[in-house]
């Protein structure tokens, strides 16, 4: 079981590195579709006149 998991670990890492490589080739702009953009927009309205330097 440990050997199988070890191979799975290596494959997962290789896939991640490949997507990082492709992202790098694109000049650091493409997201490779690995994360979701699902956001709760209603919670993201910035309060007017606020400063980011708390």
């Amino acid at each position: 079981m440990e050997g199988l998991l070890f191979v799975f670990e290596l494959v997962a890492m290789l896939l991640l590195l490949w997507s990082v490589f492709k992202e790098g080739r694109s000049g650091g702009t493409a997201d490779q579709g690995i994360f979701s953009y699902r956001e709760n927009l209603t919670k993201n309205n910035p309060p007017k006149g606020s400063s980011p330097h708390a």
Binding site: M1, M13, D31, Q32, I34, F35, E39, N44
Partner: protein, 432 residues
């Protein structure tokens, strides 16, 4: 066989590390977290993976491959606090008691961790790369828990977690597993593909089972802390509570009576020789710091038997602890706070606390910036929240462990800083 497989994977790994500095950086971090050498038994066991990928990353980053990596130094408080901690530690190690076996090794670990962390904001320059970093941490760390979780499940609760030397003992393993649970929850929330999200959900449950399999009482307390903070900091509180209820049900269903009996001893800590031994180690660590308030006794001074004998009955802040027992060995400090106190004095402890407090301040700044940056940036606030949950797990579990120099909390602190810088850049570009 496993060594041959590793060799086969090393070829693309090395090639990708040369082609992309950030890929090399991920490999550098991953090799440290997964501790490859402990899972190989042949000719690939002796390869210094961390050093190899650290070197490749530094070389390829300096060559500026045009893959979006820009080495633009930008000062940040997290880096400055880490630098102060490393420099102060260097003086502590230099002035340490003679013949401390792990003095320079531990200082070297801290310095290497700080070097790794200092490059993070330079290389993780966008959301994709931050997400990839979280993935790397999750893949590298959860590997240790998934196996034990599966064995615990298949043995009906009889399995006891196997601990590799990198982590020390079962309590350390429990701490590491607890720290990765919030990050897995973040990945579950924000991964795009459904089956990947389900895989992270399953991994969280296996992590919980693996924590139970460590038989660590500190781990159980940490599990409660993580559960409470996860629900408190999560935007999906009902889902978080549901996950915790499912985990608790699995634990009750599978945990053997020996585990329940051991956890019951938490209530009778004062009668527990193991726990009281830790309190004596805290007393001795405080005594060392009182003798050397600025630079302490050096890394793991308390675990040197001559030092232990010298300070066993010395005046200490914890002199009120009336527990006397003859030790034939020098026990570990068993607390991140007292470990740093004995090793690096009151000044070192103040820097260490400032470093952790700074991380929570950075998390607040991330939440504020994400709110100001508006639509599409909630992920940053959520990641900041989950990283603080990981640090809460470290602080709670580490309070009874010698784990002050373990790399994962420092990586989490710098990841928080990296997210803050990303959000700050976005805010500044919107204002311009």
């Amino acid at each position: 066989m496993r060594d041959l497989v590793m060799l086969g994977f090393m070829l693309p790994f090395v090639a990708l590390a040369f082609l992309s500095p950030f890929a090399g950086y991920l490999l550098w971090g991953w090799c440290g977290l997964v501790a490859l050498n402990f899972y190989l038994f042949g000719f690939m066991q002796g390869v210094p993976y961390v050093q190899v990928f650290a070197l490749i990353t530094l070389v390829s980053a300096l060559m500026q491959r045009g893959d979006g990596t820009t080495l633009q130094l930008r000062g940040n408080p997290t880096f400055y606090w880490m630098l102060v901690f490393v420099v102060h530690g260097l003086v502590c190690a230099t002035l340490a008691y003679p013949d401390l076996p792990r003095n320079w090794e531990l200082w070297g670990n801290v310095a290497k961790t700080a070097l790794f962390c200092s490059l993070m904001p330079l290389l993780a320059t966008n959301r994709f790369r931050i997400h990839a970093l979280v993935l790397m941490i999750a893949i590298g760390t959860s590997f240790h828990g998934v196996l034990d979780g599966l064995k615990f499940l298949s043995s009906g609760g009889a399995h006891r977690a196997q601990v590799i030397a990198k982590f020390g003992d079962n309590n350390h393993l429990a701490m590491v597993l607890l720290m990765v649970i919030p990050l897995l929850y973040y990945l579950y929330t924000y991964s795009k593909v459904l089956w990947v999200r389900m895989a992270f959900l399953g991994t969280i449950l296996l992590m919980v089972l693996a924590v139970v399999a460590t038989n660590s009482r500190g781990g159980l307390l940490g599990l409660f802390a993580v559960a409470i903070w996860l629900v408190y900091r999560s935007r999906r509180r009902f889902l978080g509570a549901l996950l915790i209820a499912a985990s608790a049900y699995l634990v009750i269903l599978l945990a053997p009576s020996s585990w329940t009996e051991r956890m019951d001893t938490i209530q009778a800590a004062e009668e527990d020789a193991s726990f009281m031994g830790r309190v004596v180690a805290w007393r001795v660590s405080a005594a060392i710091a009182q003798e050397h308030p600025v630079f302490g006794g050096g890394f793991r001074a308390v675990q040197s038997f001559p030092v232990w004998k010298q300070f066993q009955n010395a005046p200490s802040l914890l002199g009120f602890v009336d527990y006397h027992r003859e030790f034939s060995y020098a026990p570990a400090a068993h607390s991140i706070w007292f470990e740093v106190l004995g090793d690096q004095g009151f000044v070192g402890l103040a820097i260490f606390i400032a470093l952790i407090a700074n991380a929570f301040r950075v998390a607040m700044a991330v939440r504020r910036l994400a709110r100001l940056n508006g639509a599409g940036q909630q992920w940053a606030a959520d990641l900041g929240n989950m990283l603080t949950v990981a640090l809460v797990a470290y602080v709670v579990t580490g309070s009874a462990l010698s784990a002050a120099y373990f790399e994962l909390p420092y990586v989490c602190m710098m990841l928080l800083e990296t997210v803050r810088q990303h959000q700050l850049r976005m805010y500044e570009s919107r204002q311009a």
